[in-house]
């Protein structure tokens, strides 16, 4: 539905800006999907008077006009036949911006034109493009059209939830807003005169299906004149994106927008037998509808018929055979209520989706039919003329009843957690149109308005209370303060899972330690004291362990002594160290690897674990923890073989290390093969690591290509240096550089090695030519030769 800001203002007092109103609608529960500003173009258009018209010397169809725009006389070349001197017209000066073009000074067949005289179509006011727009004689010269027509408006396209059909009319929206904003409602006053002739001597109603037609009213207005609607009416409908047709149809649509209740007008003289029968259609009966489509009906469809034939599909669409046209003299105004399910079934089956059908499907109130009919009668008499016959015809088989709802004040507090006094509840409910009928010290009883079918239970009223009170005004009770350190909890789990899924077995050792082990392993606790146990069970358990390495070495020794060749174990547990802050209980994750990379497999030979296995593992571990880039430095820890180790650095802080255990140390634990360990302080990792922000990147439209590059290079240069040099040559083109081979030995001089890299290259947006690639590689090779003295293989 489209709600016009200006139109809504007819029914409610407020001085909010359109932007503020949008906010208010949202918090009333009316979702605004789109906002359109009207009149922006019309503001630029001025009312001007043509004071002189001359024929164009070089073109038959063009005229040269002199127009007075209130401040100046301008020369405008115009192609319309009706640009006669003396007329008041819509003048678009130079600089006027239309959605598709801007008016500039132009030469038309040799004559300069300063602006344009506009047609109604060009201004978006109607489809009329026969000539330029003509304004009435009293229009003020110089005034802009938006101001003249009062056409500045904001239109909200809103979504009305299915439980609130009352909001399908502007008065319903106004009612809700007035309750919410505590402002006055300005419902239209309805009054009109009826003539002496009785309606029932001109028309009969026969409701043959009172279960589906809940109420049917009809009025007759005679001697009307069908013509174009007045400006104000057209403007209102246009703002709501409703087509204007003629004054009669437009008024029924106006009332639909105002009340939400659909009406229909028949040409009285086309109603055969002057009789209206509401009945089920006969199978195979046909109706040519107002949309020029013919529908074949069946007995489930409810029709409005005259003595001979169907003249409308009840609540959905009228028939062509009874429609109001320019010759119509007398009309029947139908205001009725039909069962929502009947309307739904028929409109689904026949695929006819009209505003009327939409509203009826959501359930209208029978009581509203009379209000809508009265309002239509008043507006028709005022704007179309004619005379209204006396006494409305009203077939109303079962009178609708108002829902009676009791609300306990205590219950309100129980649900909302705020105490709302009974007086306040009554005030809210009255503002929404409910009627207080009974009051005790514990509860209030209300009658709900007919058009609020959604209000039937106590809880429905509580919902209304909180809506008016404001969802966000409910004070918070107690925010949950998390006790659990979820981040750490799941990080520990994820790390364990990661290691297990990389072939590690988890071990668990007691937390006791022995200073002799620390020494034996040359662990680096030089200037630190240990956390000593005053009454140890055994002297070999005299301290709380400062590292997990001793226990893992012993676990390895135990297993090797029991003939287990491959040992891949880890422990994630607390270590205890003294610092200036006192005792620190940090979690460490420490792993040990000896033997084969993988289990025996008949198809492939497996290799022995090596330094790079451990490096990959450590990087993966930091990746699953989502910590950004780590850097490596040579470690001075004496447990490692010099040159086969690294410290793990996160944001300049050491969080751990890895490397190959010095064989002299390993030997003492019966370890004869190469053994590797890694050790990470989880607490430090969380302290110094910064969690990466992951953001989606567009998937490249053009595929990347891969090319290999092999060369011989002195050992003094690292793969890291070479890689970053290559990446740096063109970061927008070179996406990745991966080493895939290293070779030393036969054919390569001492002090050199051969390296092979795979480069991923692409712009992501367009394909590269061979020439592009060759140029790039020439550049890369040149750079590598210069910096690293490489030699191509």
């Amino acid at each position: 539905m489209n709600i016009s800001y200006q139109w809504l203002k007819d029914y409610i007092e407020f001085d909010f800006t359109p932007e503020q109103l949008q906010d208010k609608l949202t918090f009333a529960g009316i979702e605004v999907e789109q906002v359109t500003k009207l009149g922006k173009e019309l503001e630029q258009i001025k009312i001007a008077k043509i004071i002189e018209r001359e024929k164009h010397p070089n073109a038959d169809k063009l005229s040269i006009c002199k127009v007075d725009d209130g401040t100046d006389i301008k020369q405008v070349v115009c192609g319309a036949p009706n640009c006669d001197a003396g007329k008041l017209v819509a003048y678009a000066p130079i600089g006027t911006k239309f959605p598709e073009f801007t008016i500039k000074k132009a030469k038309l067949r040799g004559v300069v034109s300063f602006g344009m005289l506009c047609s109604e179509k060009e201004l978006g006011l109607s489809d009329n493009h026969d000539g330029i727009m003509e304004l009435s004689e009293d229009a003020p010269i110089g005034k802009d059209l938006a101001a003249y027509y009062d056409f500045k408006d904001t239109v909200y396209e809103v979504e009305i939830t299915p439980n609130r059909p009352d909001l399908l009319g502007l008065t319903g929206v106004a009612r809700d807003l007035s309750a919410l904003l505590n402002t006055n409602l300005k419902l239209p006053r309805i009054s009109f005169k009826e003539s002496e002739k009785e309606t029932n001597s001109f028309l009969k109603i026969d409701n043959q299906n009172p279960e589906k037609c809940l109420r049917y009213t009809a009025r007759i207005i005679t001697d009307i004149k069908v013509k174009e609607s007045p400006e104000w009416l057209k403007r209102r409908l246009m703002a709501s994106e409703i087509n204007t047709i003629n004054n009669v149809v437009d008024i029924t649509n106006f009332v639909l927008m105002e009340t939400g209740h659909p009406l229909h007008a028949f040409d009285y003289d086309k109603v055969s037998g002057h009789e209206i029968i509401i009945r089920n259609a006969k199978k195979g009966e046909k109706l040519l509808a107002l949309n020029d489509k013919e529908y074949i009906l069946d007995e489930h469809d409810l029709v409005i018929a005259d003595a001979e034939k169907p003249i409308a599909l009840a609540g959905i669409i009228g028939g062509k055979n009874s429609c109001v046209d320019s010759n119509t003299k007398n009309i029947v105004i139908e205001s009725a209520n039909f069962l929502y399910s009947t309307v739904r079934k028929t409109s689904r089956r026949l695929k006819i989706f009209t505003d009327a059908g939409y509203n009826f499907e959501r359930g209208m109130s029978s009581e509203q039919t009379r209000i809508a009919s009265d309002r239509a009668a008043q507006l028709l008499l005022e704007n179309v003329g004619g005379s209204l016959l006396k006494n409305i015809l009203d077939n109303y088989p079962v009178k609708e009843e108002k829902a009676k709802i009791k609300i306990r004040t205590e219950r309100v507090e129980k649900i909302l957690s705020v105490k709302i006094p009974a007086e306040k509840i009554a005030e809210y409910m009255t503002a929404l149109g409910l009627e207080l009928i009974e009051k005790t010290d514990k509860d209030l009883t209300f009658l709900a308005p007919y058009n609020r079918k959604d209000l039937t239970r106590e809880i429905d009223l509580i919902e209304e209370i909180i809506r008016l009170y404001g969802y966000n005004n409910i004070p918070s009770k107690k925010e949950h303060k998390p006790i659990m350190d979820r981040k750490k909890f799941y990080l520990k789990r994820n790390i364990k899972d990661y290691l297990v899924n990389n072939g590690f077995n988890e071990v668990i050792n007691w937390s006791f330690g022995n200073p002799e082990d620390v020494e034996k392993l040359k662990l680096n606790f030089a200037d630190k004291d240990f956390v000593k146990i005053k009454n140890p069970m055994w002297s070999t358990f005299s301290i709380m362990r400062p590292s997990l390495i001793p226990d893992l070495m012993k676990n390895a020794e135990h297993n090797i002594n029991h003939n287990q060749k491959n040992v891949k174990i880890f422990e994630l547990a607390k270590c205890f160290n003294l610092s200036d802050k006192g005792i620190e209980e940090d979690y460490f994750c420490t792993g040990l690897l000896i033997g084969d990379q993988a289990d025996i497999y008949w198809k492939d030979k497996t290799g022995k674990v090596n330094f790079y296995d451990v490096k990959g593992l450590v990087i993966g571990l930091l990746e699953i923890a989502k910590y950004g880039k780590l850097t490596l430095e040579t470690s001075k820890d004496e447990i490692y073989i010099p040159g086969v180790n690294a410290n793990i650095i996160l944001n300049k802080q050491k969080i751990g290390s890895f490397g190959e255990i010095d064989p002299k140390i390993a030997e003492q634990y019966s370890i004869k093969e190469s053994a590797f360990i890694f050790e990470i302080n989880i607490n430090k990792m969380m302290e110094f690591g910064r969690i990466k922000k992951i953001k989606f990147k567009e998937i490249p439209k053009a595929p990347f290509v891969n090319r290999d590059l092999s060369f011989i290079v002195p050992n003094s240069y690292s793969v890291g240096e070479l890689t970053s040099c290559m990446l740096g040559i063109n970061r927008n083109l070179i996406r990745d550089v991966i080493l895939f081979d290293e070779y030393k030995g036969k054919g390569i001089s001492d002090g050199f090695r051969s390296l092979s890299f795979n480069l991923t290259i692409g712009t992501g947006t367009k394909n590269l030519t061979d020439e592009n690639l060759n140029n790039l590689f020439d550049k890369i090779i040149k750079e590598l030769k210069k910096k690293f003295q490489i030699e191509m293989r």
């Binding site: 107690k478 303060k481 998390p482 006790i483 659990m484 350190d485 750490k488 909890f489 789990r493 364990k496 899972d497 290691l499 297990v500 899924n501 990389n502 072939g503 590690f504 077995n505 988890e506 071990v507 668990i508 050792n509 007691w510 937390s511 006791f512 956390v531 000593k532 146990i533 005053k534 009454n535 140890p536 069970m537 358990f541 709380m544 676990n555 135990h558 297993n559 029991h562 287990q564 040992v567 891949k568 174990i569 607390k574 205890f576 005792i583 209980e585 993988a598 289990d599 025996i600 497999y601 008949w602 198809k603 492939d604």
Partner: protein, 340 residues
């Protein structure tokens, strides 16, 4: 000539029926319908025939050619199918041969049960809280209502670090710290390592693992305690395992109870595991003593609470039928790899 054509067709079909392989087939094709074939020779001679006879003869030659080609296509199709079947047959696997072993170790059995316990309680709305292994006497004893002269404070029972620090003997210390720092409602479990100066044997270990639960809030009752514990036992051991409460004494709770569950080994009939009683001791429980709450600044008139403690090692041993607690800390791969 018509006769000769029929002969050629006959010859070709016979030859095609006795082909040997694909190469053979291609040779036959060029021999019978190739550019230099006799059939094509006839085609070339067409021009020398009288005009009105040409269409008829052309038609006849074409028919012969098509007959041969049809046969050829049929044979080629057959050959393709044969080759396909051969390939399928040779690709047949012996699925009893080992698949590539994935790189997969496993979690320590204690960790597996630990996680299961945590997840059961998390699903019941508990948070998991952690504390220090090295505690002070206040949090380990005083705040828990333990009298100054209580035997558990002895050096023979508790490991001390210096004079005023000790290794926690139960994770109730975490509950005290949570109550010090957070207001009710509180709903936590605190799993963790505890220490007691016990000489290791089949059922004792100087370091062991406990999970304790604490719930403090308005209207928390003994029924909530029993429902929570029963809920846990059923999720952990299965719906058939009953549990019972026996009156007992703990300084921290009042009323206090010991929790038994029906023997998971014999189902309550009596066996070695349950020492023929049909019941297994699972831990202690009770309503938090009002004194404990008041001492921590929690209004014991407004709030009530319950607590219980269970042994993680014990549950692990029961679940996996592990007879000796020391096996858990020996870290023998032949033991650890059983829990995959």
């Amino acid at each position: 000539m018509k006769k000769r054509l029929d002969e050629i067709v006959e010859e070709a079909i016979t030859a095609l029926n006795t082909f040997e392989d694909h190469h053979d087939l291609m040779n036959l094709k060029s021999r019978f319908v190739g550019k230099k074939s006799e059939l094509m020779g006839f085609m070339k001679k067409l021009g020398s025939l009288p005009k009105e006879e040409r269409p008829i003869f052309g038609q006849t030659i074409n028919n012969a050619k098509n007959k041969i080609l049809d046969k050829f296509n049929e044979i080629e199709e057959k050959l393709k199918n044969l080759e396909y079947e051969k390939k399928i047959a040779s690709n047949k696997v012996d699925f009893s041969m080992p698949g590539r072993p994935p790189l997969r170790g496993n979690l320590h059995p204690l960790t597996q049960i630990w996680r299961e316990i945590e997840d059961i309680f998390i699903s019941m709305g508990f948070e998991v809280a952690e504390g220090f292994d090295i505690e002070d006497e206040f949090h380990n004893f005083d705040a828990l209502n333990t009298p100054k002269d209580h035997p558990s404070r002895n050096l023979a029972d508790t490991f001390y670090i210096g004079n005023d620090r000790l290794l926690r003997t139960q994770t109730s210390t975490v509950q005290i710290r949570v109550m010090e720092n957070f207001e009710p409602p509180i709903k936590i479990i605190s799993p963790g390592r505890c220490y007691r100066n016990d000489k290791p044997d089949a059922s004792h270990s100087p370091a062991f693992h406990q999970v304790e639960a604490l719930v403090v809030g308005e209207g928390v009752t003994f029924a909530d305690l029993r429902d929570t514990l029963n809920g846990f036992v059923v999720k952990m051991f299965g719906s058939k395992i009953r549990s019972r409460f026996r009156p007992h004494f703990f300084p921290f709770t009042e009323p206090s109870a010991e929790i038994d569950i029906a023997c998971v080994n014999c189902g309550g009939k009596g066996c070695n595991v349950c020492k023929h009683s049909g019941w297994l001791e699972m831990g202690g429980a009770g309503m938090v003593d009002p004194n404990v709450l008041d001492n921590l600044g929690i209004d014991s008139e407004k709030y009530t609470g319950f607590a219980f403690g269970l042994g993680i090692d014990r549950i692990t041993m029961l679940k996996y039928n592990i007879p000796d607690i020391r096996l858990l800390f020996e870290n023998d791969l032949r033991f650890l790899k059983q829990f995959k």
